[in-house]
Symmetry: D4
């Protein structure tokens, strides 16, 4: 579309409908890709064939509902992340029709099933019970973004055989998302078992010297498995986004 | 190969050439994938069709040269990372025949050209002149790992037009490695311009409040572009490894 | 005024109305600029032709209202910062007549419009929706301090075209305040686009590795754009104060 | 110049010398402000009427000399920062004609005197003897950037009368740069004495709990004087740049 | 008292009332100074002629009241620190007769006035309004510990003249306690104005880069005034204890 | 058990009941020690002859009760750690029959008394009153894990004689758990008095520069007594587990 | 011995050879366990039946040699830790007769073989080649302290099968010392495979976000395996000391 | 002296030798205490009857020698701190006549013996051999500042009896300086044994988790003995200064 606008402008110059100085000014202002009044995230998402995403944490339900309704009016799907139960219910009262995934803290306005366009399996692996909300966010977002997803939960490194028992499943994945708190060692072990890219998500699970996820974060960044890359603490959404882009290649 | 050893063992049981208790003991010891006396990294690498890699930093040249010669004797390629000029020369005296890339601090023992097996372009983007060694490591490793690689250097965010002028090149990449020190903002900007996975590498370039790369690292982890994942500070090698695995999908 | 007091004292010495030893003692005690019982902030503000400012956070409404009424009785304007809705309402009940800006968390007791004495445009630029309260504080304070102010919101670096589309507006500013959380990259990009001083405000927006605004703060301090200076996390008021002083030059 | 290139392109379209599709491609690639092969910093500096600046730290003398000679060939001035005595001498052997300021660690290739274009006095205030190199960098850069500069040294807060004795000089400044290590308290005191913008520079001077300048940095960011903004630790150059832009308003 | 117990034991050995082995065992167990079942803090305090002190934070009112009543039954005074209003009231219901100082968060069970035994003036100096609770704790404890105490409040370094106006008062002090949050610069300035020991108390007042008092703490530790020593963040009690011991010398 | 499964598989191969390829696949999947669907912690605990342990913090009472009932149905004991009073009561309503230790924050479902299998005394030493909950957790867990346990409380290093008076008790211990907050110095002193292993537990007790237990943690890690090893902040359970394993040797 | 001194003193009191006041004074001064002029560490070690240990780092060779010769003159063994090759050689020149272990950085003056008094196997497990010096220190010290020791090297978690292949060896150990740098995940995995106490040693191996061993340290402290306790970074000696005490139980 | 200057000025006003406006200007500029061109530290020291002190670290020997000679010319004593052997020798060549204390890293230009003016004993207590340089600095400075000083070395808390054996010496002190690295526990123990003020000096001795003295610093700040105050890491000089001022009371 932007290329069209650019072409139109150049044609008007060619047809001498547009003065050179004026064209100059317009070109200096013209965004290459975006339209002036659109919200950036929407358009970045649209370019990538993904639904709009609203980061819900700390936003009042009224604001979230307003964005949701605007998207719906435009005929677009929208995914809201990081909504607690109370917020979700308040949004649903104002903008009915969404599906609420309480564990993953997501609200989804769109078709019940997203068609699978990712080429292979996205496997989400999580270490402990307490990491499940982040793993659930990663799984649910990856599904909504058009991937086939499996979840392998509760396979922390202190009971390594349980993970090894699933090594066939590990090897079937095209991309892996590994979620762990505390010492965050799981991505290193998983990374050594597969020859696929591993997106590691540290969680804020733990206490004391875990310092809100810092221990897991540093552990993943210094992983001795070099096929591991890392996203922010508790950022299941970001991991799913990266994995989606990889899985579409 | 390991599967072959396993099959051979089972056949000996089947042929009753091997006592059950002895087989039991051997199986308990037998690595599924590895051979007993080999180094883990080698075999992981071999499984992935990649050359052996030796992390050179802090290792004495004698040790590096020994590993290199062992690999050569086995008819295998080997890549040595993080070698300063003095170390590189000392290794080359002991194990001749390697190619030395001084900027990337690499030694390569193998064919002059690696066949390209990655499916698309790996684009390495770097922010400032001082980030070049890390960008060079990422580029050279990605090339040795069988990727077509381009380097887009010196496009820091404080001169954003220079980056935008290369937006066509950005869009041609299948995977991007973005290298930046100081505030580490480049991956956020690049991540917003492309719909491909971005592997971000913070560098220790900077002074004062950069705290040895911490500022860049935190900046990349909290990037507002959610298609960005991060590796350790100065870890050009790790970024190239992740990008290689992605580019082979 | 203080100079007057000093002159008076010296004249009394000259007229021998004041004993030398007594004068000596008075001079040792005499503040150069301040009067003994006045509150420092008030007088510093008065010297600069600015209204009194009360930092409201953590102060009980009774105390705030008391200060406000004292100022009003003295015929002076007063601005209260960092007041939540509940505190604002409690203050207004005790000290009616103030204007409440809920988003900026400000209470203003003074004329509806402040005359513009700043010489040019103060442009407040903010990255994301969640940074708006801090940007609003900066904008509103800058207005109350006598500047022409514009707000350019929602132009995060992950959608760089949106910012570039406003480059004319950026170039019209005499001073810029740039507000951003998460990786805090916006001041670097803006700083590269203008040749004016940029006052950067990191916000505590973000989670995980943002560590309460630390990531943004370090990013701004290590900015590769050298026309950027930084104030404390979430300190929209301080940025407005600095920008006001610059804009009066 | 860039506007000229843009105009030329548009004129070729108007004269139908250039095909629409080709123009489209060229425009997509064309930087708005920059030329394709130029280094960003140069051009940003040029736009602002300032000499080119090369950050010398960690760069080999050969590289610095090469950049210097390129600038000289283009008839441009160049300032090199952060060069130790050895590096400075090595650069001067390769690129003669520069003036070396050992205390400020600067090399200057340009006219002996820079014409003063800044409107008022830039006053550089420093706390202790050990802060002098950073204060000297700030002073010398501010002079080379066309400001009238005075240096008020050795006025640490533990001997407050010495600072107060210079209060007339403080009040004459249009912009102040305040340099301090250890607890970094000087900008707070100076900020309370003037009604002008104060650019604070923490230094890495100190030991133990100064943690390489962190104590001073945090102290300046949390200053109780709200007319203070802060640049990176030891960043005398950045402070001079910000002060220059303010002083030209 | 303990020496008495020791003497009694030795006398019983001398009088052969006590078997050697039994004496041996008793001596091995006998605390030099303490009695076996007494609480350590009590006795340390008693040795120093100070009332018992109970640190109240986080302790349930029942427990505090129990300790208070036990002290009262033993005819001893007791001071409870860090009690919020609710806790204070709950303790007073269970252990009536105490005096509650709400600002200093103290409960005092003892005589209305403590006789002054300290030799000179303990001057408590505080920077801002928000530092008052800590300054009040230091003042009240120092008074209960038998010192003549004055409080000089609201003399932050950003309005330095106000502090200087009180320089006579500063010079009258025998020991000074200086309380400040944010950048914590006040002890450096005060330390330069007096030739007496200065006990600095950082407070957790501030936001953002004050990091809960860390900025003030580091600032005080790296003070350029070398007659300053530091206690823990918000530790008004500790400062009063140290000042008391100094003032009794 | 697993060895049995392995033997059974090999016997089926030997009897040619199992095809080689199928055996190969099963072996690749077969865990050495664990059964595929079991929860890791349970089995690790069972192997060690210890009851199942559920970490209760942050878990909803429904989930805890479910796990408890499952264990009870399987005829197994279960210990729940880190349960506040409200949670404990909610769990007990859903899963009656447990013993609640409020100070130690434990729920225990099992026999009233655990038989002592540890060979000697586990002595738990704690510094201050506020460290008691962690010391109580360590004591109670060590008891439930079959140790004879004594608790020596309130022997902080600022009243060293009280600790020395208990030196006979210290010397009777086979393993010591030392619990301390604030500066965490107690393990160093205790470690110097005994020739037995000391497991140190830092607690989050303290304020200001204790930074949530960091001061105590660092102090214990850098202890000048080299018979000290450390567990996570507030981790009374972990200390009891380590001490139990030592005491069974 | 000290008990003997105490008995002698009491007997002199009983025999009235010693005045009561003088006895009182002597008792007040008398150490329970130590002799007045002896060095503490020596005596602590002697009490535990271990050789004297000198921490060599940062000590001049002259000082080390002096202590060694003093020990030798007293007929005692002595172990010197943390000596680089140059220091070791300088000490050996001054105090001949020691055995130098270059990898473990130890000097040993004593019998060639230490008799084994530990009851079982101390197994030292290390992750990577670069961790070997610390593992070697732990192994050699444990041997000198009278343990049977085995070293299982190069079994990092990214190649988990290699570790599992050694699970029989793991299960034979009575105590395990696990040494790892980078993410420090190895103790968690080992801890899950054994039911014995695991002493974890983080190393400073790594770069960037390993922050000198902090990542490994935090990872080990937050280990999900609760039979793990931790010593200081690179503290192979301390781990060996703790393991020795455990192995003697 | 300054008071004299002030009196002279007032007398000239009284005698009408000085115009009112001129007097006004002079008074505005006049330092109360200081002379315009003198260095602050000198005069602060002089006011306190102490010799001039030059902090030598990082200063070139030429500069130090220059200051020394200036002091000598003025007939004043001078103490130089933090000078390594090489620097000391270089200074002595340029400014002969100083006494060099290599362990304390001090140079002293003044009388061989300083008269004792402090009222009691300053006792310096140090934990380990490696803390001796800092303890030596504290001792030597306290002596030069006119105190009777004793040093009690090598009494770390892991051998607590050695410290207790010196308890009589501890009780004789009027002020105590306690120097310790690693976990920094010694001030807590000493603080509990005496009823005098304790000035604690953390040292940078240690490795790993001591983080350059941070562990000791935090430990001392959170000391459970409330008669402890703290100076910067390795700041033996500052501790001696504070102790001197206390000991003169």
């Amino acid at each position: 579309m932007d290329r069209e606008r650019l072409r139109a402008l150049l044609e008007r110059v060619q047809r001498e409908e547009l003065d050179l100085d004026e064209a100059l000014e317009q070109l200096a202002q013209l965004p290459f890709v975006d339209t002036p009044h659109a919200r950036v995230d929407t358009h970045r998402a649209l370019r990538q064939g993904l639904p709009e995403v609203v980061y819900g944490q700390g936003k009042p339900p009224e604001l979230i509902a307003e964005v949701v309704r605007a998207q719906q009016n435009a005929g677009l799907d929208v995914l809201v992340t990081r909504v607690d139960v109370e917020v979700a219910e308040a949004v649903l009262r104002r903008a009915p029709g969404g599906a609420h995934d309480a564990q993953a803290r997501l609200l989804w306005y769109g078709p019940r099933e997203t068609p699978v366009v990712g080429k292979g399996l996205v496997l989400v692996v999580s270490a402990g019970t307490s990491d499940l909300p982040v793993a659930a966010e990663a799984s649910a977002v990856a599904r909504r973004f058009g991937n086939r997803v499996e979840l392998l939960a509760d396979v922390g490194v202190a009971g390594i055989h349980r993970l090894l028992a699933s090594s066939a499943q590990l090897r079937q994945a095209r991309v892996l998302i590994v979620v762990a708190g505390m010492e965050g060692a799981l991505p290193s072990v998983v990374g050594g078992l597969v020859d696929k890219p591993v997106v590691a998500v540290p969680t804020s699970v733990g206490y004391g010297a875990s310092f809100g996820g810092l221990a897991a974060l540093l552990g993943m960044l210094t992983s001795c498995a070099s096929n591991v890359c890392v996203v922010n603490i508790d950022n299941g959404f970001g991991a799913a986004h990266v994995a989606t882009l990889i899985n579409r290649l």
